[in-house]
Amino acid sequence: MNVSKLLRKLRYKKKLNSGQAELLLDLQERRIFSVHQELRFFLYIGILMIITGAGLTVKQYFVNLGDPAIISALTLCFTAAFIYCFVQGHPYERAEVASPNIAFDYILFFGCAFYSMDVAYIETQYHVLGDFWENYLLVSVALFFFLAYRFDNRLVLSLALSTLAAWFGFTLSAHRFYFENYYRLYAIAYALIVLCCGVLLYRLDVKKHFLDIYLNFAAHFLCIALVSGVAEYKILSLYFPALLLACAALAFYAVKVRKFLYMIYAVIYGYIGISIVIVDQIHRQTFLLFAYFIVTSILVIGLTFKLSQRFKEQR
């Protein structure tokens, strides 16, 4: 029995109506072939390449082009993109709103990226805000949040959350990757703020489908910060119980809503944290070290197996 035969059988037994069966057979036998996802993918890649190319051009030729040309070109691009979105976009709704067309989400994202580039360029060249230059990031965060919610755009929400992270001091530059105490506390503060925002908006029934993005940002920032704290202070700090609590909460949430991505986060971060503490105690006893990894990995496999059975994940 293959898919086509089964569909014909279900149509014969009146479990599928003929319209449904025809459509599914057309899809299965590729008489209808949707390239929607492919078109979206290549549109997005195209937009990312335009952003990269524009950034590189500005970086290389800013002296030749001159500030007025660069600033006016970038401003024109993002203004045109925003005007297009406000003219073409559907009215605001609290629930999920479909995009008016396939390119809409990417045009908004393009506008936001060019806005960032423009503002960053002006600030780099003219130091408008002086010592308070990082505050332009907050203005960008506010704008991106507004646009993300106004036009129901996940990409712009991700942009907003990472811009907020940049305001907290987290950038892609290598020297900021060290989790010194200073950044660790900032990471925890950032994670808690993002978590509270996400949960609050979810409770208020505002774009409930955005919650996953908030949770992913919050979970990683919080857990990485706590694990780095455990690595430094081992068991002698609040980081360890806080990490256990965070992982327990993630596992509980994963089970409750059956989103097992969070279970991976809980198990991996929790295991790393516990292992750091235990290995610190037994690292001179090789036998115990191996035994620890054997016993705990079997334990994790067993518990995961039980859990997956409980939720009838296994067939």
Binding site: V3, Q37, Y44, V58, F109, I264
Partner: protein, 402 residues
């Protein structure tokens, strides 16, 4: 002789269920209809979701690694040959455990049995390699035999467990062999090209129209990977870009201009022919993966075209490629939407089948990284950027010194 552990109908039922879940997700069938389909297509195998599968895989790897480590430490071997034999025995034991779990408990893509066979393969091959070394076999023989051994064991795992990545490991291991004989770079490339083409033709031969749907799906994935591998073998300028960044002009692989002109220009022609053939074949046979791979390869061809011709690279080259991609995507969307019933030749831009969502998508991650890239691209006031001076560098770098 039946090689695969799982009967074809069971795997076909899994494929049917996966299709039915996609239809349900896209609102094409109801929950009751999904249950009815699931009732007809019971695979009678134990599966788990992707996230649990990853957990099972990771922790089985950890456990097996610790078991081998503990054993080697406890017995404190001095004799290397004995360690090699122990590794082979451990490999055999893990393999048998995987077979037992898959046979007795009907585990299918469960993570545990997958990790066991992968560890078994690595231990077995490592043990054989140490034994070969111990028996005074020359280094070149070891370097030839080891990839061949990996290729054979991985292929056996593919035949037995049907794991596609085992087939990929097998092909990669096979692809390493031509580079072990100290041949000329052109001969190495030609040999690799020949080997990959033979495998590709073989995959076309077994991909008959009357085979099961799950096999068609599997072969399409394999053919897409092989096409990519063939393209990467043919395109000399991909490694050339690395050479350009590293300013290395002496190593032939990193400076493709050192290849004989006939090879160089043949490869140039092939970089256009392969993507074109892939897109054409994908559209004709309606193989989604092949179409996607063809388009991605076409983009790579456009990105390396200037290197082949020795033309100057500019910072705005990525933007031009981006504009071409956006323009083409919009043109195709409009063209399809303006057809009768929003279709042309069966192709449609309508969103019919929704993809599975796991919380956060790669697109979200790329969007989150954008501010960092923009930050890195900001010029320092009053200093003209020197990185791309002379136009001889690639346009894809963000901050690296060329």
């Amino acid at each position: 002789m039946k090689l695969n552990l799982y009967p074809p109908q069971q795997e076909e039922n899994i494929y049917i269920r996966r299709q039915a879940q996609a239809w349900r997700r896209s609102g094409l069938i109801t929950e009751e209809q999904l249950s009815a389909i699931n009732g007809y297509a019971d695979p009678q195998l134990r599966q788990t979701n992707l996230f649990f599968r990853i957990l099972f895989f990771v922790f089985t790897l950890l456990c097996t690694g610790a078991v081998v480590g503990l054993f080697v430490w406890l017995l404190d071997f001095k004799d290397t040959s004995f360690v090699a034999v122990m590794l082979i025995l451990f490999g055999a034991a893990f393999y048998m455990a995987a077979e037992y779990l898959a046979g007795k408990y009907l585990l299918y893509r469960h993570g545990v049995e997958e990790a066991l066979v992968i560890v078994a393969m690595v231990l077995f091959c490592a043990g054989c390699g140490i034994l070969l070394f111990e028996n005074h076999v020359t280094l070149i023989q070891v370097k030839t035999v080891m990839p061949a051994l990996f290729a054979m064991t991985a292929y056996w795992i593919y035949l037995r467990f049907g794991l596609l990545y085992a087939a990929a490991i097998s092909i990669v291991a096979l692809g390493v062999i031509p580079f072990q004989f100290n041949l000329s770079p052109a001969t190495e490339r030609l040999m690799l090209f020949f080997v990959l083409c033979v495998i590709f033709v073989f995959s076309l031969h077994v991909d008959q129209p009357d085979i099961e749907d799950f096999r068609k799906d599997k072969y399409a994935k394999m053919q897409a990977c092989l096409l990519m591998a063939i393209y990467l073998t043919v395109n000399l300028e991909i490694l050339g870009l690395v050479g350009l960044i590293m300013m290395n002009t002496h190593v032939v692989h990193l400076n493709p201009k050192l290849f004989p002109p006939s090879i160089y220009w043949s490869s140039y022609v092939l970089t256009f022919l392969i993507p074109a053939a892939a897109v054409y074949w994908g559209i004709r046979s309606r193989k989604r993966l092949i179409i996607n791979v063809g388009i991605v390869l076409a983009c790579v061809t456009l990105a390396t075209n200037k290197s082949y011709l020795g033309w100057t690279r500019y910072a705005w080259d990525p933007a031009i490629l981006g504009i071409v991609l956006v323009g083409l995507s919009l043109f195709i969307t409009r063209w399809l939407n303006s057809g009768p019933d929003q279709k042309r030749f069966g192709f449609t831009a309508r969103d019919i089948l929704k993809p599975e969502e796991g919380g956060i998508t790669p697109a979200d991650v790329a969007a989150a990284l954008t501010p960092g890239v923009i930050d890195a691209q900001q010029p320092q006031a009053g200093t003209q950027d020197q990185y791309f001076k002379g136009g001889s560098s690639g346009g894809g770098g963000v901050e690296g010194e060329f």
